[in-house]
């Protein structure tokens, strides 16, 4: 940016003189800057999209992981049957026999967005399949996020910082992890909505314009419709307002922005059935309401102060009003909570504030790997240089404190805390990290380049300014501040190096770690070639084709969405873990003896049982490794199941030394049925489990109430048929 504004018009003129027709196109410096800015932004836009296509190139255009399959299935339903049907959809294929009211228990933003894009494309007669739209929704919104990041950066600092922010967020691994092609999840559009809401709100605070704050209310509405993470907005924004109040930065602009955004945003958010009246009834949303009333009190006091013109009188009035307001507020809150009108905080919210809460109280939340506290290494993995740039950016923010920078500092600090509590919330922190870091990069580079440029104006500056540090050192030898230019160049090169490393790291992480669909597994074979394990789809497709259409499949809840979406069969539990008792029932069945489990399965009308087993291939996230969670969740509701029964001296084993209950429970039997006859590795005894690295303890497994129906080619998925009850006579 700096170099362009310095370009002298003379050489440009001479260069253009050979093209007389182009002479008319001579740009002014401002136009050049605009051109470069727009083209850089366009390139970033494309880059953000393209870098997320690794998974499509490596594998295929497919939906990834678990939750996206549900989203895909609902989107398919939406495009086929229309919005009204979708909104009133009672899904009897999941949570058998309870069923699930889909319209009332999901955030429809993502599905509606994809369906809308699909419809628009079809309106322009591009006959694309809805699957392609779903696969590419997340990259498309990631591209849009870069634009928002640009404008946000421009709003809080300058357009240079905006460009850097856009570039950083385009390839930030923390964000890419949830927005690669195929990862069709709420977060894909929600981060866009989140950043958009924040940007519009900051813009509204900066301008005091009703239009911007109305826009931010609509941004908030979109966010509410897309992801449960909107709770972060509805708590961060009041917190920000509170901080501005406390630091004496209250202004009419803030008053207009917050009131409009809160009231309109709240009313709009109530239109989402899943959210409903939570904005006025749930403890998580009370902070926003409290700040709303506080603002009114503040405004009122301001007005009274203006009317009274008497400091003493005003102070006493202030005291009375404040006491009254606080008493009324506390009373309302306590009465609301006591009467049950205001619901207490949910477990997930608690576990955010107290990281150890879930571990002790809600095993179902703790069992999810993405709800674990973040490891230090994954911060490094997901943020790389942003981790170092973040504090530097904070420094610059504090140096030039404004309403906007205060917001971004608060956003950064709070989201960093949440990112530390839960792995998946690194995603929320990613935009903040990029924004704050971009300020650091932009400010540093700008300062340094202005230094370098100031020197190059000296008489010797006719040479190549960046050709070599030695020549530059000679040039600057006679300056008053020795090594200043030299140091600036070195620092610039250092910054360049860092940014290059960042780009390389991000590309590597994207291609290696975040582009696997996790439905199809790939491994290196003996010859170095790629081996594909497509067992999941093999099993789901078998279910889809060769079981009765009304068959009920019991599996651990992880696979529920995939079975309904790909297998098209009814499941007992799925990834929407709304009913803990039901999941505990399945957990209990899995950890009981076969004849006990049979009773449970008959009571649930189960026809098939599906287990995931990695003992042959060494696929470690299988059901045996998840088994202790089944025991814990089952035991949490049914005290018959006791965790110590499955452990030997507190150790989880599957070999000969395993607990007898472990060796005979349903899960063990189903995973290891006839595995004892199988030789998995050369030089190892038959029945050698490659995940646990032991020979299994019970090789003589007989099934009485179930029979093997299907096992995939690498044994990863095993399906058993539940035999019908025997005749009594």
């Amino acid at each position: 940016m700096g170099a362009t504004s310095n370009a002298s018009p003379a050489p440009l003129n001479s260069a253009l003189s050979s093209f007389p027709s182009l002479k008319a196109l001579k740009f002014t410096t401002k136009q050049q800057e605009l051109l470069i800015r727009v083209s850089a932004l366009a390139l970033i836009y494309v880059l953000a999209f393209v870098v997320r296509l690794f998974s499509v190139l490596r594998y295929e255009s497919m939906i990834h992981e678990f939750d996206p399959y549900f989203n895909y299935r609902t989107t398919l339903f939406l495009t086929k049957n229309g919005f009204s049907e979708f909104w009133n959809w009672f899904d009897s294929e999941s949570w058998y026999p309870l069923g699930r009211i889909i319209g009332g228990t999901l955030y429809p933003g993502l599905m509606v967005t994809a369906a809308l894009i699909h419809r628009i494309l079809h309106f322009f007669s591009f006959a694309v399949h809805i699957r392609e739209v779903c696969v590419l929704t997340a990259p498309f919104f990631a591209s849009n996020t870069t634009l928002v990041a640009y404008f946000f950066g421009k709003e809080i600092w300058d357009s240079g910082a905006g460009l850097v922010a856009a570039a950083l967020i385009a390839i930030c691994p923390g964000y890419i992890s949830r927005s690669v092609a195929g990862s069709y999840d709420n977060e894909g559009v929600a981060i866009f909505a989140l950043l958009l809401t924040f940007y519009l709100f900051v813009k509204a605070v900066n301008t005091g314009s009703l239009a911007w704050s109305l826009a931010s209310a609509f941004g908030y509405f979109y966010m509410v419709s897309a992801w449960g993470g909107y709770v972060f907005i509805i708590n961060l924004v009041p917190l920000y307002v509170l901080v501005l109040l406390v630091t004496g930065r209250y202004s009419m602009r803030l008053y207009v922005a917050y009131n409009c955004m809160y009231v309109v945003g709240m009313l709009l958010a109530m239109q989402i059935r899943f959210v409903g009246f939570q904005h006025v009834q749930s403890g998580e949303h009370m902070a926003a309401m409290g700040v709303f009333f506080l603002l009114q009190v503040f405004y009122f006091l301001d007005w009274v102060k203006y009317i009274l013109n008497d400091i003493k009188l005003f102070h006493s009035f202030l005291r009375i009003t404040l006491t009254c307001a606080i008493t009324v507020g506390v009373l309302a809150l306590s009465i609301g909570t006591a009467s049950g009108y205001i619901s207490p905080w949910t477990g997930r919210f608690y576990s955010l504030l107290d990281p150890t809460y879930a571990k002790d109280h809600i095993p179902i939340i703790a069992s999810v790997s993405e709800h674990q506290p973040t490891a230090w290494s994954s911060f490094m993995f997901d943020f790389h240089i942003l981790l170092f740039l973040f504090p530097a950016g904070l420094y610059f923010c504090f140096k030039r404190l404004s309403d906007a920078t205060i917001f971004v500092v608060m956003y950064g600090l709070t989201s960093m805390y949440f990112a530390g509590v839960m792995v998946r919330l690194i995603l929320v922190a990613a935009p903040a990290m990029c924004l704050v870091s971009s300020i650091a990069v932009s400010a540093t580079v700008k300062n340094l380049s202005s230094l370098v440029r100031a020197k190059s104006k000296s008489p010797q500056g006719s040479g190549k300014p960046l050709s070599g540090s030695k020549a530059a050192a000679k040039a600057s030898a006679d300056q008053s501040l020795p090594f200043q230019k030299n140091g600036a160049i070195a620092l610039l090169l250092g910054a360049l190096y860092l940014l290059c490393r960042y780009a390389i790291h991000c590309t590597w992480v994207t291609s290696e770690a975040y582009s696997s669909p996790s439905i199809v597994l790939a491994a290196r074979g003996h010859g170095g070639g790629r081996v594909i394990f497509d067992d999941y789809r093999e099993a789901y497709y078998w279910l889809r084709q060769n079981t009765p259409p009304d068959a009920k499949v019991m599996s651990w809840w992880d696979y529920g969405y995939q079975i309904t979406a790909m297998g098209n069969r009814t499941v007992i539990v799925d990834n929407n873990t709304w009913n803990n008792t039901h999941i505990a029932t399945v957990g209990r069945a899995m950890s009981s003896y076969e004849h006990e489990a049979y009773e449970i399965m008959l009571s649930l009308d189960v026809n098939y049982v599906l287990v995931v087993f990695g003992g042959v291939t060494g696929y470690s996230s299988d059901d045996i490794n998840k088994f202790l969670w089944m025991v814990r969740i089952g035991g949490g509701v049914f005290p018959v199941i006791k965790e110590p029964d499955y452990l030997v001296n507190g150790e989880f084993r599957v070999d000969k030394g395993a607990a007898p209950k472990m060796l005979n429970c349903l899960m063990y039997k189903l995973c290891y049925y006839r595995f004892g006859e199988m030789t998995t590795e050369y030089g190892k005894p038959p029945g050698y489990d490659r995940v646990r690295g032991v020979e299994i303890g019970n090789k003589d497994i007989k099934l009485e109430y179930l029979e093997e129906a299907f096992t995939t080619s690498n044994w990863i998925v095993r399906i058993y048929k539940v035999k019908p009850p025997k005749n009594r006579w």
């Binding site: 295929e60 497919m62 007669s125 591009f126 006959a127 439905i519 199809v520 594909i532 497509d534 789809r537 093999e538 789901y540 497709y541 078998w542 889809r544 084709q545 060769n546 790909m566 006839r674 006859e677 199988m678 029979e707 093997e708 129906a709 299907f710 096992t711 995939t712 080619s713 044994w715 048929k721």
Partner: protein
């Protein structure tokens, strides 16, 4: 036999037909070969026909029991005179006078040359039958082989007197049991009955063969082929299959360890791969199903054709079902020709590209380019024809689609049957879409230019406000 029939014109004709027929022709010898190697039954009968009547005869009647006629996929008749092939035809085209009483279906064959009195001619009848092999037992375990039963008439079913005949069954392997007759011989995998002498018309005596057959029993219950023509030079073919293993059903579940440990002994009747023979020059081949790509397939190509070896998602056992689709592109000039009247002639081969498969219901959808006119279809066999419209990328009026539907298609259809589609297409339409795109992008840029040059009303008011504020 005929006197019991109710009087109607059709029956009356039949009476006349069969009575005249019987009086004149005699089959001096017939040898019937029944090939039971796959799940498609192929029967070749070598007949020698003698005209003993006083007149020349121009028609010969073939008779089939209804059970066979119902499952008759295709038939080919070759007429020989003194050992030379004179003419071959497909009598399936001809009308079927049907006598309800006798459970017979008759196919009159018009002879290419009148058979003069006292002369003898050869007639080779090649018949392809489906759905006639019944598994017995109906359910088998994974370790057992599949046994099939075939029932037929030991005598050649014919409205004519037969002097000398024999029937031969060619079997793929072990024979479990078979009907005992005095004149019979079993040599390796060939079971021969006969010769039987001097049998009156419609002689019947059942013969049952119970034998082992582990060949892949692939039946496509549904097969939709979409052929999309682009005058830019490409033909895109998409084939959707729903395939059922039509053999003996699997009992007691599927055990992977048995299947892996001893592939030859376990699941002998199952099949894991299907081979599709695509036309030469096929490219951009894909193989996928509703939930994504199927990564296990091999493609081999040579000048004769392209061979796609598809490994199914799971091995197919009796009664199991799978559906998938394959697609490929072909160069247009191999299939599209120009007739003298300025028509485009599209020459497509009917039938499935998968080897040795029975298609219960085939639908071919030929998608012609937008703007095609005067469409007519010529096929050598009866099909249900209809037309509809398809909207694809950037279509405004839609592409005309010719839909052909046919039941009971066997590989023989691919070999002999062609379909010709005539239509008119003005090549100027080729440019339509390109022009549309250019126009669209031009409009976009125009809007951008207008937007950049337009003064936005909002900024104007704000500057006005600043001005007024400044004045104050």
């Amino acid at each position: 036999m005929e006197c019991r029939l109710p009087f109607s014109l059709v029956v009356f004709c039949l009476v006349i037909l069969s009575s005249t027929v019987r009086s004149e022709l005699v089959i001096s010898s017939v040898e019937k070969w029944v090939d039971l190697h796959s799940h498609i039954v192929r029967v070749v009968s070598f007949l020698k026909v003698e005209n003993q009547g006083p007149y020349d005869v121009s028609e010969f009647v073939l008779a089939f029991p209804d059970a066979q006629a119902k499952n008759l996929a295709t038939m080919l008749v070759i007429y020989l005179e003194e050992g030379k092939i004179i003419y071959s035809e497909f009598p399936i085209n001809s009308t079927k006078p049907k006598s309800k009483q006798s459970n017979m279906t008759f196919y009159p064959v018009t002879l290419p040359k009148k058979l003069e009195k006292g002369k003898t001619a050869g007639l080779d009848v090649y018949v392809v039958l489906t759905n006639l092999l019944k598994p017995l037992p109906k359910e088998i375990t994974q370790a057992e082989s599949q046994l099939l039963v075939y029932t037929d008439n030991i005598y050649y079913t014919s409205p004519y007197h037969i002097r000398n005949q024999s029937i031969v069954f060619r079997l793929p392997g072990r024979i479990e049991s078979y009907s005992e007759y005095s004149e019979m011989r079993l040599v390796e995998s060939e079971l021969r009955y006969g010769p039987f002498e001097e049998q009156p018309p419609f002689s019947y005596s059942p013969v049952v063969v119970h034998f082992e057959n582990n060949n892949s029993f692939a039946v496509a219950s549904n097969f939709v082929q979409e052929i999309e023509i682009s005058h830019w030079g490409n033909v895109q073919v998409t084939e959707q299959y729903t395939i059922i293993h039509g053999g003996a059903h699997l009992k007691n579940g599927f055990s992977r360890i048995d299947y892996q440990a001893n592939p030859s002994m376990s699941g002998a009747s199952s099949f894991r791969t299907l081979v599709a023979r695509l036309p030469p020059m096929s490219h951009s081949v894909y193989y996928r199903d509703e939930i994504g790509n199927i990564s296990t397939s091999h493609l081999r190509g040579d000048s004769q054709g392209t061979q796609l070896e598809m490994e199914l998602r799971f091995p197919m056992f009796g009664g199991w079902k799978i559906s998938f689709s394959i697609g490929y592109s072909l160069p247009l000039h191999d299939f599209l020709f120009e007739s003298d009247a300025g028509n485009n002639v599209l020459n497509i081969t009917f039938g499935s590209s998968i080897e040795e498969i029975v298609v219960e219901n085939q639908i071919v959808r030929v998608v012609l380019p937008q703007g095609s006119k005067d469409i007519s279809v010529k096929s050598q066999f009866p099909t249900k024809k209809s037309q509809e419209l398809k909207y694809s990328h950037l279509d405004i009026v839609g592409r005309p689609v010719v839909v052909l539907e046919k039941d009971n298609v066997v590989p023989e259809h691919k070999r002999y049957f062609q379909v010709y589609i005539y239509y008119k297409f003005n090549n100027i339409f080729l440019l339509g879409k390109a022009m549309m795109l250019i126009l669209g992008i031009f409009l976009l840029f125009l809007m951008c230019i207008l937007y950049m040059h337009a003064d936005l009303a909002l900024s104007k008011t704000s500057s006005w406000e600043e001005e007024t504020e400044g004045r104050k």
